[in-house]
């Protein structure tokens, strides 16, 4: 006699989705969202949250998550069920959107390495926001891939520390959440 675990006849493709959630900015709302993900075994690749409308008391949470189409559908339905959630929008599914991340990257080094780091920063349009004679802190915005690429290039040049915000995203065009 077989079991559900053995007889999955086809494996559904796992896809990356960027989901924007508009919530009431009240205590515990982030814990509700995160608890839902951990409790039901969903993935969080990146999460950002900040108040976006102080007067209306609204915050926007952006979550990058991966899952099969059925799981992604569940995630959205489960998020929609939370009482303080106003709106859930799957930016990946709903059309073109812009995704950006901000990173602060500390590179420590002298001589050739230091010059090369500064030159690559120029190519990536990263700004040096802090400098000592043997270190830089670069500020870089862009897609996650661009940030990844820059960090990889900095590794042999004295990469010391990285802080990233995680993805924020917004739909292109006139549509608003």
């Amino acid at each position: 006699m077989a079991s559900v675990y053995e007889e999955q006849t086809h494996i559904e493709q796992v896809a990356r989705h960027t989901i924007a959630i508009l919530v009431s900015n009240e205590p515990g709302v982030l814990a509700r969202v995160i608890g839902l993900y951990s409790g039901r075994g969903y993935n969080i690749d990146s999460l950002t949250v900040a108040e976006t409308d102080h007067i209306a008391g609204l915050s926007r949470i952006t979550i990058v998550t991966t899952g099969t189409p059925m799981i992604i559908e569940q995630i959205k339905a489960q998020l929609g069920r939370l009482v303080p959630v106003h709106k859930v929008s799957d930016l990946t599914e709903e059309g073109p959107h812009v995704e950006r991340e901000l990173a602060l990257i500390k590179v420590v080094g002298t001589g050739e390495h230091r010059v090369e780091a500064l030159r690559i920063a120029g190519i990536f349009r990263a700004r040096a926001v802090d400098s000592t004679i043997d270190s830089f802190v670069f500020e870089l915005t862009g897609s996650s891939e661009k940030v990844d690429a820059f960090i990889n290039l900095m590794k042999p040049l004295g990469l010391a520390d990285v802080a990233r915000t995680g993805v924020v995203a917004i739909a292109r065009g006139t549509e608003a959440l």
């Binding site: 006699m1 077989a2 079991s3 559900v4 675990y5 053995e6 007889e7 999955q8 006849t9 919530v23 009431s24 205590p27 515990g28 814990a31 509700r32 608890g35 409790g39 059925m70 559908e73 569940q74 339905a77 489960q78 929609g80 069920r81 939370l82 009482v83 303080p84 959630v85 106003h86």
Partner: protein, 588 residues
Amino acid sequence: MSKNEMTGAAIIVRALIDQGVEAVFGYPGGAVLPIYDEIFKQNHLKHYLGRQEGGCLHAAEGYARSTGKVGVALVTSGPGATNAVTGLTDALMDSIPIVCLTGQVPTHLIGNDAFQEADTTGITRPCTKHNYLVKDIADLPRVMHEAFHVASSGRPGPVVIDLPKDIQFADGIYQGPEAFDHRSYKPKTDPSTEKLDEALRLMANAKRPLFYVGGGVINAGGEASEDLVKLVRATGFPITQTLMGLGAFPTDDKQSLGMVGMHGLYESNMAMHDCDLMIGIGVRFDDRVTGRLDAFSPGSTKIQIDIDPSSINKNVRVDLPIVGDAGKAIDYLLKGWRAKKMKADGAALDLWWKVVNKWREKRCLSYTPDKTIIKPQEALEHLQAAMEKDAREYYVTTEVGQHQMWAAQYLQFRQPHRWMTSGGLGTMGYGLPAAIGVQVAHPDALVVDVSGEASFMMNMQEMSCIAQYKLPVKLFILNNQWMGMVRQWQELLHGGRYSESYTDSLPDFVKLAESFGWTGMVANDPSELDDVIDRMLTTEGPVIADIRVDQKENCYPMIPSGAAHNEMLMGPGAVQDADVSAAGKALV
């Protein structure tokens, strides 16, 4: 002081009264004393003192399940709140509207590991539909009323309001429960009429249709069940019900195939497997219902009507998902079917019924009576016959295990809200405290807790509560001296190694009953059964009937873990240890 100026504790009690609450199930403690003081000063709502907070929550659930109204519990901070967690989770799993008020240490002590402090909102976040921590007296009236709205609307569920003690003492202004529009919480209740029209078209063209209904129909209110009966009659289709849905349609009706699922009836499961149109209403395709997912009803078009979008496509992909209130959907389908003078495919339906009736001929619930040992199935059949004859309306609660499944198989429910059982969470110890809530809500009704001796002992302290309020609850213990379902699984899946499933050192249930002022009686022999049942029903006040049943009896039919609907075990000897795969054993 203006008429609406009052303390937080007074606001709480006033809000309960204005919400129409008549019964509160609770247990006092330091952090809720101001509320208990207000309860003392009024005569509108009655407080029922449980014997442990876990019991209070199940009592509130029993009240809610048997009335359709919100059940209210009141417990103190710390251990009071943590004891409430099982009942809250139970209510969440079975969609039962509960408002649970928990005391909390004063706001300035929160986070200091104060005496009897627990992070109640943190602990209960995953086991409630929503929860609140009231830190400002100005929020209190709104939160109180909002909690009732959230608990009872959409897909019902438990709501916790955590109430720091200083808020209970603080002065505030009471506001009544005026209609308000919640900023973000707006459950969709109106189903799409286009989709329902599509459902009607599918129904008219189906060759092997089947209604599959669950607790959502019961939660939609009595009218939903009445309309469901009319719809099922108008279409002539067979109908199967989940454990939660028993009574949404009369279970002994000729169109009813009985319960579906792991211990469902043969005809029900076979019909699920072979139907070509499944009309799911208020169901969530739970794993106890579906069995092996990739073999679940392979040839059917599936319609699912549910108020909770997250219940749709969770386990089983459906072809026509319809989000909305089950009652509204059934009403639309009934009116549509009638107005358009729709007809089922008569010839195909006749053929389908012939197939279904063949399955019925298997008589899957038959068992072999014994001259000397009472069979649990026999005990329930006799109980059913006696309850039929009783002039009172009967309500049944259960604990969890074999007795629960037998009760679901052998007892009949013709109306909603008559059958209270812990389905999703499977909480042993549920039935006795739940019976308190049922009997409080229906003082003149016959309330029977069909129990096992092991489950009963999990919350037997509530016998004291039942005695205090003179609630005439009848406790019908199918006593086989084993955790029967554990024993059954050990027999079928673990080579008969009965690890820790024997209930040793049981009390003398007759003496136990008498010590609480109940009446106790025992049946050892089939010849004593009817007499004991009759005496149980006719004796005034609460009764324990200790029915000593066959220790070896197993519950069939059974879909073993990881098997499909058409792979049911029909009786003893049908399964060997080796038949169930390792992965199947890993399933619960």
